[in-house]
Amino acid sequence: MSIDQDVLKLPHDQIEQIQLDGIKKTAVRVYENVPFYKNSFDEARFNPYEINSLDDLSKAPFITKQDLRDNYPYKLFAVPMEDVLEIHMSSGTTGIATVGGYTKHDLDIWGECFGRGVTYADGGPKDIVHVCYGYGLFTGGLGAHYGGLCSGATTIPMSAGNTERQIRVLKEMGSTIICCTPSYAMHIADTAIEMGLDPAKDFHLRAGIHGAEPFSDNFRADLEKKLNYKVLDVYGLTECMGPGVAIECMEQTGLHLAEDHFYAEIIDPATGKNLPDGEWGELVLTSVDREAQPVIRYRTKDITRIIPGECACGRTHRRIDRLHGRTDDMMIIRGVNVFPSQIEDVMETFDDVSSWYQIELSTKNSLDVVTLKAEVNPGFDLDSVASIENLQNSIQAKLKTALAVGIKVKLVEPKSIPRSTGKAKRVIDLRKENEK
């Protein structure tokens, strides 16, 4: 197998033609086969037979995660069940799991889309792709696996967990590209260092394709230093296939959307109105050619923007910016919007605390109280109470400047913040419990 490189460099009007042709067919197909779309299009007086330009799509109603839940498990499938080869479910980070179905064609597209990431990392048949996303219902493991296979690389299905074995394989089997969550990559690097290895030298990695959770530029720089490789951000979601919807190239200036398979819009999450390129808002995705479970205008709740202009790599597929958080990860603290990534950016400027932190939201006298727990690093001179309080105070002051809201910093003992092999749980919200 190999990845078609020509389609990545098509003139953009040709890509738009592919999108329009695909969406015209897809919109009619869902209207005729899925009762949900029949009702929602009719209700919004949207006529799927009269889509003449991509702009016409902005008249179509949205579909949300709640709609997916309401139609659990198979009511949004647009093909007979005998054509569905595989089922996945979302990790349910924010609630009940949602289902995704795939035909043979859908699985091929998925492998192609994620496999592009391997070729963005200049990878191919000579590479060894080490997949330590969790295998199973989570789309990370098998998505990366199909991508590895599709790129022609040797693919090692490690799945997540058993970190010491991951380290042994990375050291002894010559893995060149690693696919996992960024926090798990950091955990592997830190554990290897603890075991007395230098992963920058002892591993053979050239690139990491990391996604499923947002991470800051500082976190990326830290990873790249520890593992001596390049980190490429990958975006995707179960509701619209899985990882591979958009992947960064080696320029690291945004993630190329797989525009021949997905049409992206950015909207104002409050009004639902389309925003021009360059402006931050909620990403809305439409399937161009998915068969089993196409979506028309799915509200991802992910905050990003379309990066105007062309990428230096020469690929013409437009880029989205690295995710700025989710509309539902956003914390509203005393009326101020705060994204965990903003906190992370501040934390990583302090060498005396580790990359592991946790935010606890609670209520005291009906006021929001935010406590940030961070672990003290070895080497920090902790001999006096003042030195620890000074560190806490300087982190607090910097957070206050960056976020315009007061956060109490509490330094904690090493390893008291739980490590994760999947998505890191950064925020613990006790506010509802405090009200009881």
Binding site: V376, P378, F380, D381, L382, D383, S384, V385, I388, E389, K410, L411, V412, E413, P414, K415, S416
Partner: protein, 142 residues
């Protein structure tokens, strides 16, 4: 000069016990222990017979611990003993960050001072020895 072990502890149930058990299991004998506390955390300072061994055991058990040089002086067992000692240090313009006391045996007690700056610390120890005080070395505690 002697080595003091400082351990950062969260204000959480059972942490002090875990710390002492860890040192005990390593076969290290404590001579003195003092706790400096704030609202969220405590700093436990320890004088023991084998600081290096204690430090290694604590690090292996994921405690955050440091080794700090402090001055330990044997103090005469009579009124004004500590005052005499401090008088000798008075004109050195030192900054004593913290201090505490422990008994070595029934007749003798020792004062421990953390003096700001390595050179100042060594200077103070020298001056005290000149004045006839016994300044403890780590060997005295082994």
């Amino acid at each position: 000069m002697i080595d003091q072990i400082t351990v950062f502890l969260e204000n959480k149930e059972g942490r002090l016990l875990a710390l002492c058990r860890c040192i005990g299991d390593a076969g290290v004998n404590m001579h003195a222990m003092t706790i400096a506390e704030s609202a969220d955390f405590g700093l436990v300072r320890i004088i023991c017979d084998d600081p290096q061994k204690a430090l290694e055991a604590l690090n292996a058990a994921d405690f955050r611990a440091n080794k700090t040089k402090v001055v330990g002086i044997v103090v005469p067992n009579r009124p004004g003993g500590v005052a005499d000692l401090l008088e000798i240090l008075d004109d050195l313009n030192l900054n004593i960050e913290y201090g505490y006391c422990f008994s070595i045996n029934n007749d003798e007690a020792a004062d421990v001072f953390k003096i700001h700056g390595d050179a100042e610390s060594a200077g103070a120890a020298f001056k005290l020895e000149e004045a006839g005080f016994k300044v403890l070395s780590q060997e005295d505690l082994a």
